[in-house]
């Protein structure tokens, strides 16, 4: 049984490692086969008439039960097993687990949608979230593995001689991981609600059950083997619809190789649609609406009185004429919808004006997909500036995402679990390889969906629109809404408003695949969100139990109590995160990206200099972490609208070199490096033991005297 396969015979060593790996290969091959069979059986059942919501339920129950099952089979109270999976996860499996740990709901569900909406600009995420692994490989993974403790604050505490750097590490780790985990649990709630039709809040707690059984019982060991299982599901789920779309459009089953030509066609369609008279009609209609609200805003009291008057009169006349009940109710609703006072009217009308003005642009506001940066370097002054700012922000975002990737504790922690330094290096390769498979495909998915929308959907009569449009519109009108604003009965691109988050989930339906594939894609999204949440919760709980409690408060605590406390904390943190996620916090996507800037500024300089510069000392690292984090935090709080609201900042927004708040780490990271350099040189060098620790970390095996 699979449970036995996660045990390893005593003794260890190379031959035991090899046997263990062979056993894993066998288990996961069977598992993949089982998953495919499961899909096929469901597909057959669907053809025989199994209702759709049943399929959703079966996917939800089966996958969550599977993850919980692996958790139960891998339960442990041993510290090394609980914190680092016994340090015997083979490179390739650690790579798969890291891939699942890394790819969150944002990668799986959100990224292709972002690419669909922003074209080239969205590629900053593709570059940033893969290129960061070069930094992990070159600067961190092998050295952290050689150091060989349990957490990232562990390294800071040992290398920088004391509890202050360790404590700062704990604070920064919790800050990044908590914002990130809230977003995952939110994603779990959304997908569970879609799959099963349960309420969002209940969805959160069902998903949470799956996460908790797994990490609660088995810690890193259970999380690792679950993440491998989740990776397999999510990659199959991502590939199937894209390959299908590719075959449908080009009859070539390798979308990644062929979508360049589809992109050419999309670019041609964009040109056609920009000039299309019907599209221009739509733009004019939205413009007229925006102008209407603008006129109302100029004299609010009069407009409000007129609106009330008109609505009252209409209702009265309908009632008088004994109109059908539905019409009367509609008129009553319209009357109730008139803003109650001037303040409300101003707010509602300003919003309506902005929303309509935003849609009165070509291509529904999307830039040309293949256009590199906004503006024009050879245009007038304004176009030149737009180009310059767009390019600068693209590169800044890539930088922050890369450095942030190389500093997220839940990812770095995974490299403690390999059997050796050699395997840690290889494991980074496997990690990026498995992540690459999905990130290589996401831009193809975006282009293929766009081709489908531009060439199949646009021009369809409204009464013949495919079923997925109406069904998604019913699920959430903020994610997808279509309106025939120029009343010609034909669908124009400008008449659709689509949210990035449904592109991937709707792809199977866009491609005309059976519903079972939609269920599988949703299950893949769930796997992505759950696996990341597992890793993050474990990071937070370990930072608190291992670093704060065991290392700083009670160093004599027995192992069993440490693990027990970690499990308790895991429960508390998970419930707290679920409570926050249930509030549906605004700007969740911003918070996720902010986590990258925070991690980059707090950890990267201290970790890298800790290995590569022996002279870096306690005071340099502590102040450097504070300065990096502080700079990033300050810039975000003073420039990001939502944070400005939270902290009550009212001074005018002052951007530095026009850099957007999302890339605040661009200032925090150099600040961190600078402060560590200067302060370390001004204060005494670290002790001899610490310098020897650095030497120890630099060589996989020093073998002094033998070399």
């Amino acid at each position: 049984m699979a449970g036995l396969s996660f045990e390893q015979g005593s003794g260890g060593g190379a031959s035991a490692n090899k046997a263990f790996k062979a056993q894993l290969n066998k288990v996961y091959t069977w598992y993949t086969g089982g998953f495919l069979t499961f899909i096929l059986v469901l597909a057959v059942l669907e053809q025989m008439g199994l209702p759709r919501n049943w399929i959703g339920f079966i996917f939800l129950i089966a996958t969550v039960a599977l993850y919980a099952g692996i958790g139960i089979m891998s339960r442990t109270t041993d510290a090394a097993e609980y914190y680092v999976a016994g340090r015997r996860v083979p490179a390739i499996y650690n790579g798969m687990a890291t891939g699942a740990d890394w790819m969150s709901a944002a990668s799986f569900i959100g990224m292709a949608g972002t690419l669909y909406l922003t074209g080239f600009g969205g590629l900053a995420f593709i570059l940033g979230w893969t290129g960061g692994y070069c930094l992990v490989a070159l600067f961190l993974a092998p050295y952290l593995r050689k150091f060989g403790q349990f957490t990232i604050p562990d390294f800071l505490g040992a290398r920088y001689e004391g509890n202050l750097p360790r404590f700062l590490g704990i604070v920064a780790a919790i800050l990044c991981s908590f914002t990130y985990v809230v977003a995952q649990i939110y994603g779990v709630g959304v997908i569970t609600a879609r799959l099963s039709g349960l309420a969002f809040e209940i969805g959160i707690f069902v998903g949470l059950g799956g996460i908790l059984v797994c990490s609660f019982l088995g810690g890193m060991r259970a999380v690792t083997w679950t993440q491998v299982a989740q990776y397999i599901i999510l990659i199959i789920a991502y590939m199937v619809p894209v390959v299908w779309l590719s075959v449908k459009q080009t009859s070539v089953p390798i979308p990644q190789a062929i979508y360049g030509y589809q992109l050419e066609k999309v670019t041609a369609s964009e040109k056609r649609l920009r000039e299309d008279p019907k599209e221009k009609e739509v733009i004019a209609a939205f413009k007229a609406k925006a102008d209407e609200f603008d006129a109302k805003l100029k004299d609010i009291p009069a407009a409000l009185a007129a609106d009330k008057d008109a609505a009252t009169k209409k209702l009265a006349s309908l009632k008088e004429a004994n109109a059908p009940v539905a019409e009367v109710q509609a008129a009553e609703k319209a009357l109730a919808a008139v803003p109650a006072n001037e303040a409300d009217a101003k707010k509602a009308w300003t919003a309506a004006k902005t929303a309509n003005a935003a849609r009165a642009v070509p291509l529904g506001g999307m830039p040309s997909h293949a256009q590199v940066f906004a503006g024009d370097p050879n245009g007038d002054e304004k176009a030149q500036k737009a180009f310059d700012v767009s390019r600068r922000n693209f590169l800044a975002l890539v930088f922050c995402l890369m450095v942030g990737t190389a500093a997220l504790p839940h990812i770095l922690m995974r490299y403690y679990t390999t059997p050796s330094v050699k395997e840690a290096r290889e494991s980074v390769f496997w990690s990026l390889f498995f992540i690459f498979l999905l990130y290589f495909t996401a831009p193809a998915l975006a282009v293929l969906v766009k081709y489908e929308v531009f060439n199949v959907l646009v021009g369809t009569p409204f009464d013949q629109l495919p079923r997925w449009i109406t069904s998604w519109q019913r699920v959430d009108p903020t994610l997808l809404s279509v309106i025939d604003i120029n009343k010609d009965g034909i669908f124009q691109l400008g008449e659709m408003k689509i949210g990035g988050d449904i592109i991937v989930l709707a792809t199977p339906e866009i491609g005309g695949l059976p519903y079972v594939v939609s269920g599988m894609v949703a299950a893949g999204g769930l796997a992505a969100a759950l696996s990341t949440a597992d890793g993050l919760l474990l990071t937070i709980a370990n930072a608190l139990s291992h670093d704060l409690y065991y290392k700083m408060i009670d160093p004599n605590a027995p192992t069993a109590r440490r693990v027990m406390i970690s499990k308790m904390l895991l429960l508390v943190v998970a419930l707290a995160a679920a409570a926050v996620a249930a509030q549906k916090p605004a700007d969740i996507l911003f918070l996720v990206s902010a986590a990258f800037s925070f991690a980059a500024a707090a950890f990267f300089p201290a970790l890298v200099l800790g290995v590569f510069w022996k002279r870096a000392n306690k005071w340099g690292a502590s102040l450097g972490m504070i300065a990096g984090l502080g700079t990033t935090f300050y810039y975000m709080v003073t420039t990001q609208p939502w944070l400005r609201g939270v902290f009550g900042v009212t001074s005018p927004v002052q951007l530095w070199w026009d850099i957007q708040p999302i890339s605040a780490g661009l200032f925090g990271v150099p600040m961190g490096f600078l402060v560590i350099l200067v302060v370390s040189l001004l204060t005494p060098a670290p002790s001899k033991e610490t310098q020897e620790l650095v030497e120890h970390v630099r060589y996989p095996d020093l073998r002094l005297g033998k070399a």
Binding site: I126, Y261, F373, V421, E695
Partner: protein, 87 residues
């Protein structure tokens, strides 16, 4: 314990720094070099504008190769300088 590194150790560390900086330079060029001149590198490449292709695929391939090469190179370096772990 008195820690005395041999010349071989120093050679190993210097070789490590050398390969690290070379690979880092390649990483930097592919990411920020091509990124900076992306608008100028807009010629058609199998349907894609070249810089679009680099950001969507080319750079990713280079990243994977960088990490693969580093792992292979360092594992050999460990052997040559006698600092490899005991199997």
């Amino acid at each position: 314990m008195q820690m005395q590194l041999s010349e071989r150790h120093h050679q190993y560390w210097r070789a490590n720094l050398r390969i690290t900086s070379v690979l880092l330079a390649i990483w930097f060029l592919v990411t920020f070099g091509i990124g900076f001149f992306a608008r100028d590198l807009n010629f058609t490449f199998f349907g894609w504008p070249f810089s679009f292709w680099v950001a969507a695929q080319g750079a990713l391939i280079v990243y994977v190769v960088i990490i693969w090469y580093y792992a292979r190179h360092m594992n050999r370096l460990d052997q040559e300088h006698g600092v490899a772990e005991e199997e």
